[in-house]
């Protein structure tokens, strides 16, 4: 059963086309992350889903209910959609209890019990109910904002970069807590972020946006290892790209012959190797290369490598465990783990 259907949504601000015929289906109960660089239209799309903006064209439906049909839209307060912003947007004049209860009718039975249950759901102490928003830390504010949106039992939850205002250390733990809470409540969620690692770890569906278009959508693993184009490949992580010739089996490039799925294609193409696919050894077998530079990053380290001579010289970066880091100037042998990925032929 498909829940949210966005079809051919376009939106223009003056001369800029913020969204260009974007279509996306989100299945019930899934967690979708929309990623893209700033200005790619992801926040505009979210605001159209929430009902704060009207599209110029296209439709949005949720469980068969039409939310937007071109510029005619349903009011935001009638949609069953929760919304959590970057800074939480807690009402500063209300305490935590009143913030949580903002969407719950006053005459609802056992309102107090529900507030406590909500606090428990987002793993906060019920004693905080009497606090004011400014007395909470950033992470606590985000949890209250989430609980406030959950109180309405929304059919869909929209998260607009909710972790980006938090400290790096806190971000990871709040993100995990939020993912846990949403999974427990079984609510369909759309997260908008410009942080690809956040998107990869949070979502079970990923949609990559670029210049107002939906570049690719699918499972995070799929998109990371089988991107539709080089831009998506590089947006989702570091990658080494090589021109390659397609052989009967696999491909051949400056690194030598590599395994790859070619789908019976002929001629040339571009292949991608992720830095963690390179394996370095002191004795071989593999391609002989020299270490230009080593960047220590804690658990991992980046090793800049140089191979070949003169015109055929190539440079690429491997990522290996920092326990196995070579010295600058060392000679190493490079072998490849797994297959190279051959980009689909450009249309």
């Amino acid at each position: 059963m498909t829940q949210l259907v966005i079809s051919d949504v376009s939106k223009r601000y003056g001369a800029t086309l913020a969204l260009d015929r974007v279509s996306l289906s989100v299945e019930a109960g899934s967690r979708v992350a929309i990623v893209g660089p700033s200005g790619s239209g992801k926040t505009t799309l979210l605001r159209i889903i929430a009902g704060f903006e009207a599209p110029d064209a296209g439709t949005v439906t949720l469980d068969g209910q039409v939310l937007a049909n071109g510029p005619a839209i349903a009011a935001a307060h009638r949609r069953r959609i929760g919304y959590v912003t970057q800074d939480g947007a807690l009402f500063p004049h209300l305490d935590v209890a009143d913030n949580l209860g903002f969407g719950i009718p006053r005459d609802e039975p056992d309102r107090a019990a529900r507030l406590c249950a909500l606090m428990e759901l987002v793993e906060l102490d019920a004693a905080m109910l009497s606090r004011r928003p400014h007395e909470l830390s950033g992470g606590q504010q985000q949890r209250v904002a989430l609980a406030r949106a959950l109180a309405r039992k929304p059919a869909l939850m929209l998260l607009d970069e909710p972790f980006s205002a938090l400290d790096t250390g806190l971000r990871e733990s709040v993100r995990q807590a939020v993912a846990r809470v949403l999974a427990k409540a079984g609510i369909t969620t759309i997260l908008v972020t410009h942080d690809q690692s956040e998107a990869l770890s949070f979502a079970d569906q990923l949609a990559v946006m670029r210049e107002g278009r939906l570049a690719q959508a699918g499972r995070p693993y799929e998109l990371y290892w089988r991107p539709a184009d080089t831009e998506t490949a590089l947006f989702l992580g570091n990658a080494a790209l090589f021109d390659a010739k397609i052989e009967a089996v696999g491909v051949s490039c400056a690194l030598g012959r590599l395994a790859a799925e070619t789908g019976g294609r002929r001629g040339g193409g571009t292949i991608m190797l992720r830095p963690e696919q390179f394996h370095l050894s002191a004795t071989g077998p593999g391609l002989e290369a020299w270490v230009d530079d080593v960047t220590f990053r804690g658990a991992q380290c980046g090793v800049a490598l140089r191979a070949g001579h003169e015109e055929t010289e190539i440079r690429f970066t491997a990522q290996i465990s920092s326990l196995e880091a070579p010295q600058i100037g060392d000679r190493v042998f490079v072998s490849i783990k797994g297959a190279a990925f051959l980009f689909p032929a450009p249309r």
Binding site: M1, A50, G51, F52, A54, D63, G64, Q65, V66, L67, A68, N69, P71, A72, I73, A74, A75, A76, H77, R78, R79, I81, G82, Y83, T85, D87, A89, F91, P92, H93, F102, G103, A145, R148, A149, A151, R152, L158
Partner: protein, 526 residues
Amino acid sequence: MTVPLSLDMPVLPALPLRRRRNLAGRAMLLLAGSVALCALLPLGFILWIAVETGWQTALALIWRPRVGELLVNTLLLELCTLPPAILLAIALAWLTERSDMAAARFLSWLAVAPLAVPAFVQSYAWGSLFPRFHGLPAAALVSVLAYLPFLYLPVAAQMRRLDPELEHTAASLGQSPTRIFLRVVLPQLRLAICGGSLLVGLHLLAEYGLYAMIRFDTFTTAIIDQFQSSYNGPAANMLAGVLVLSCVGLIGLEWLLRGSARYARIGSGSPRPASRRQLGLWRWPALALPIVLALLGLGVPALMLSRWLMADGVSIWRQGALAASLATTLGYAAAGAFAAVAAALPMAWLSVRAPNRATRFLESCHTYPGALPGVVVALALVTVTVRIAMPLYQTVATVVLAYVLMFLPRALVGLRAGIAQVPVELERAAASLGRNPARTLLAVTLPLAAPGVAAAMALVAMGVATELTATLLLAPNGTRTLATEFWALTSELDYAKAAPYAVLMILLSLPMTALLHAQAGKSLNA
């Protein structure tokens, strides 16, 4: 026969779909546009007198020794008041903000407190202490005492806002403390000094009571003399035209001196407060400056008022007119406050929620009458009502309209701050939690904006409570506010009877002093 596809999934009712026409925004634009049109009345009046009088007559009226005399007086007044006021403001601000002078916080309150004493009460105190003290020296001294807070407030605020890192960097580049003050601190005070000086300069041009009391002729006093003798003649109008030109000149001068530079703090995060300079042996002598200023600006009015009050004892409070004029003043203050805030509301909303070139233009239409002397606004309204809407001449409605025009900028500042307390994200959050727009307004927007609205109303009300010039010219015959009654009594040299009126006006202005001090303090934390 149709078979339902899914039994567990109830079909949801269709939601009403509507095109968003941004009705609120358009309505606000329309309202703000109408207010701006009203606010353009004084400007239209100036243009109209320029056109109607014609070159010949205008030249004949302006090219008189009398006008030259007034021009020289005005220039001398500005020149004798502004430089000492600027120096005093910088010295006071440095002492209260950046030195370890004793009781700095209390003295900073004392430096602002003269705002509570209306300028014409200040000159009443000095005039009754030294009856022979008049002319330029008296005018300059009383002006400095009355208007110094207008310079002190922005300079002190800016001084506290300065990033100490810049001074530390200058020190690490080998600059002595004196040179750091001259090369790093002082240039950063330029905007505050320019802004404050403009405000003081405009007050010097616009004030009537202060100068009339100590017999110093300025354009404003001349216009009112002219108006009271020959009513609404072209001579008064021409003088008003020259006065407006002087204001424009002053604004242009400030604009030139201010330059286009912006002094923003580099880097993010909130700045650490600057350390205070140890005065050492000077710690106690330094107290002399703020204390002498407080004695002159607050002590003299206090002394004279208490002397007049003592002279006549309790009976002086039993004047029937006192209670009546207090009631009238409160009525006008409330009416002016409500009207000005209501008129400023659409513009404030637009400038926070829909800032663009068009709304910025509308906003300057709202704020420019604040720079016009009250006497010009009043003359404009007299002319318009006499010529076009005679039934409105000398009615409460016209007086309130004058207050609205004069105090629109004050109302706008407070309202803008109030509305900015409600970022649009909060209204969106309320919508996504199921509140419809009307209930969002009640539950989120109004409670958060209320303090700003209240502050705006208070500022306008207190401005109205001590307003003299426009009230004198426009109020219906027999209207007695505290200010006009005080004025009438002092004109009859009945200084003792006037004292209770002055005391009441000071009491009504005290909250404004506190508000302005708090506002300047808040802008520091933001």
